[in-house]
């Protein structure tokens, strides 16, 4: 298959072809076996060859295209049930994307990719201009000196008409490299101090997260096996070796911790490949955006991404349906524009692993709740150390478009720890209060992403998917009253970069504070939108009741989250508060 590739077809003849395929595949594989003397990778590689087929990760790069007119172009790659898209090019007839995507090629799985090129249009839908279908296995084994292949793009209304050419490359990753990369990825999840090594405590957390009780019971033994040089820490190479050895004997992971898919013990290479791809999704390691079911959907651009978030929020069909959620769209009330909220890939990865699958939440009952608590406490202690102040410039740089230092009350040098910076105060007047003289006008409590609903039912319909959510559950028995039934609900979600102090939305008297202990799940939409997780009714929180003349009683619930579990109030019971007054703040801790 493939339309008009610039290279000659492979010679036919089954035996010769098989041998030729293997030798070419060898050439295309970036073998480094002489650098790694381990047997597992070699045996995996032998397995590929012995099977005469290929199972592994192919790196597909859409380099550029030559079209017959100028426009802003995007390209999509569809393989099986997945579609990925490039960025939109400049206005040109020679669009350059250089977009790469790792694709899983299974022995009996799909290997014919459809590549579609669209002209983009701001006002209406993007138009499909040309397409081609390519057998990736053929591209991989095809002989040739060139680093790229060229394919004709066909007119979708008439396959006889060539409307352009696309230049792409497709290569195969060495299974040993796949294995090592996977070990590095998995290690980074529990590597709290980012030293690319696991202490015994970090190693224990990792084994716990795998959810394999047998392995959890013999963590010390496994640690000793992994720590080959006996230096008391496990590096990425040692972890890779352990995973390979264990995979041969008794796999540490029975299910993929990201998507929850059961891993076949008999198909070790596919297991490794599957895990690698799952762990890579959403981390920003890959250039092409995924999570689309069809190339048409992918071509809808901004508006589709918006609806993708809105309509796929229950994640019923697995986390990959929302794989572009490392960029959440929010509507900026000030500028009246949609903006993308960036989330660190590692955080997205962890959140998905935990919250978006039954198995992930199942892990919660096997010690992961305690793990979140421990991580938060550990992080809190770390953020209170003087060394943590070194992280402030990096943090400011990462969120440079969203943190306005000119609004901050003190200069950066003033903050002696990261936590001090995290709970930074703003200069007086930095946040004007709407209709200050009118107590019948309520204001927003925090710099945040806000959701507002007329009733709890509406919130369940549009946003909160936890099956056990209710106002009663949120407020707890001590402060709940019937007056709150069917009352309006406003959710102020603070992101890490936000000013972390919250203010009083209405003027009145603080009646009481009620502490409700609980977990420290994330409050990110990834968890709030999961039907398996009941963030708002299970997390640690403090409920305060403000008695007002204009709104009756108003309940304000401050909910702690992973890492940011410390809640401090700056007002006391019985105190009169004016709307806009600072009420308290969240900081790092458990």
């Amino acid at each position: 298959m493939g339309h008009g590739s610039s290279k000659e077809d492979s010679p036919s003849g089954s035996k010769e072809e098989g041998s030729s395929r293997i030798s070419h595949l060898k050439q295309r594989l970036h073998l480094h076996r002489h650098h790694h003397g381990r047997s597992s990778g070699s045996s995996s590689y032998q397995k590929i060859l012995a099977a005469g087929g290929f199972a592994g990760i192919a790196l597909l790069t859409l380099i550029h295209a030559e079209m017959k007119f100028k426009d802003k172009w995007l390209a999509c790659v569809s393989l099986g049930e997945q579609t990925f898209r490039t960025e939109i090019s400049d206005h040109t007839d020679r669009p350059v994307w250089k977009s790469e995507k790792k694709l899983l090629l299974e022995k009996n799985g799909p290997h014919v990719a459809r590549i579609s090129v669209f002209e983009t249009n701001r006002l209406s839908r993007n138009n499909l201009i040309g397409y081609c279908e390519i057998d990736l296995l053929e591209v991989i084994i095809r002989d040739g000196d060139s680093d790229f292949d060229v394919f004709d793009l066909l007119d979708p209304s008439s396959s006889d008409i060539v409307v352009g050419k696309i230049f792409l490359s497709c290569s195969v990753e060495d299974p040993i490299e796949t294995e090592k990369r996977f070990a590095r990825r998995i290690l980074s999840i529990m590597d709290y101090n980012d030293d690319a090594k696991l202490s015994f405590s970090e190693f224990s957390d990792l084994i716990n997260a795998f959810g394999n009780q047998l392995a959890a019971d013999k963590k010390e033994e496994l640690f000793k096996v992994a720590d080959k040089n006996g230096d008391g820490i496990v590096c990425a190479d040692e972890l890779a070796a352990l995973l390979a050895i264990q995979q041969e004997k008794e796999p540490l992971m029975n299910r993929c911790p990201v998507c929850g898919e059961i891993l076949k013990v008999s198909d070790k290479l596919n297991t490794m490949v599957h895990l690698t791809l799952c762990f890579d999704e959403g981390t920003g390691n890959q250039v092409m955006t995924g999570g689309f079911l069809t190339d048409k959907q992918a071509a809808y651009g901004w508006m589709f991404k918006l609806s993708e978030w809105a309509h796929f929020s229950s994640y019923d069909i697995g986390i990959n349906s929302g794989s572009s959620s490392s960029h959440i769209l929010v509507f900026d009330r000030k500028t009246k524009r949609l903006v993308e909220e960036l989330i660190d890939g590692k955080i997205v990865l962890s959140m998905r692993a935990i919250y978006q699958s039954k198995i992930g939440l199942g892990l919660m009952d096997k010690g992961a709740k305690e793990l979140l608590q421990n991580i938060s406490e550990k992080h809190g202690r770390r953020m209170n150390l003087a060394e943590s102040a070194q992280d402030i410039p990096k943090f400011v740089e990462f969120f440079k478009d969203q943190i306005r230092l000119s609004e901050v009350k003190y200069p950066l040098e003033h903050f002696k720890t990261f936590n001090e910076f995290f709970i930074r105060e703003l200069k007086p007047g930095a946040r004007p209060i709407a209709c200050m003289e009118r107590d019948d006008v309520a204001i927003c409590s925090a710099d945040c992403r806000l959701m507002a609903f007329k009733s709890a039912d509406d919130s369940l319909r549009f946003w909160v998917k936890g099956r056990k959510f209710s106002i009663q559950g949120l407020l707890g028995q001590d402060v709940y009253s019937n007056a709150f039934i069917d009352g309006a609900l406003v959710i102020f979600r603070l992101a890490p970069q936000d000013y972390h102090r919250f203010h009083v939305p209405v003027s009145g008297t603080v009646e009481k504070f009620v502490n409700i202990p609980g977990c420290l799940y994330t409050v990110n939409p990834i968890a709030v939108n999961s039907k398996y997780c009941n963030v708002f009714t299970e997390n640690k929180r403090v409920v305060s009741i403000i008695s007002t003349a204009d709104f009756g009683k108003v309940a304000l619930v401050a909910i702690g989250a992973t890492m940011v579990g410390s809640i401090t109030f700056s007002k006391k019971e019985g105190e009169y508060v004016k709307k806009g007054d600072e009420f308290g703040y969240f900081s790092f801790g458990g």
Binding site: A310, V330, C444, L450, R493, D550, F551, L556
Partner: protein, 48 residues
């Protein structure tokens, strides 16, 4: 971290733009002090 505000039934008329974004499952980026809504008690008095 998150703050949730719960009002009594029929106590507030929340600004329409916030409601309509939320009905599309779209969060709205706001800042402290921006208007959230108006007491319906006052509104009903004004209407009367």
């Amino acid at each position: 971290s998150t703050v949730i505000c719960v009002f009594e039934k029929d106590a507030i008329e929340i600004d329409e733009d916030l409601l309509s974004n939320s009905a599309r499952s779209l969060e709205t980026l706001v800042q402290v002090g921006m208007k959230l809504g108006v007491s319906t008690r006052k509104l009903s008095e004004i209407k009367l």
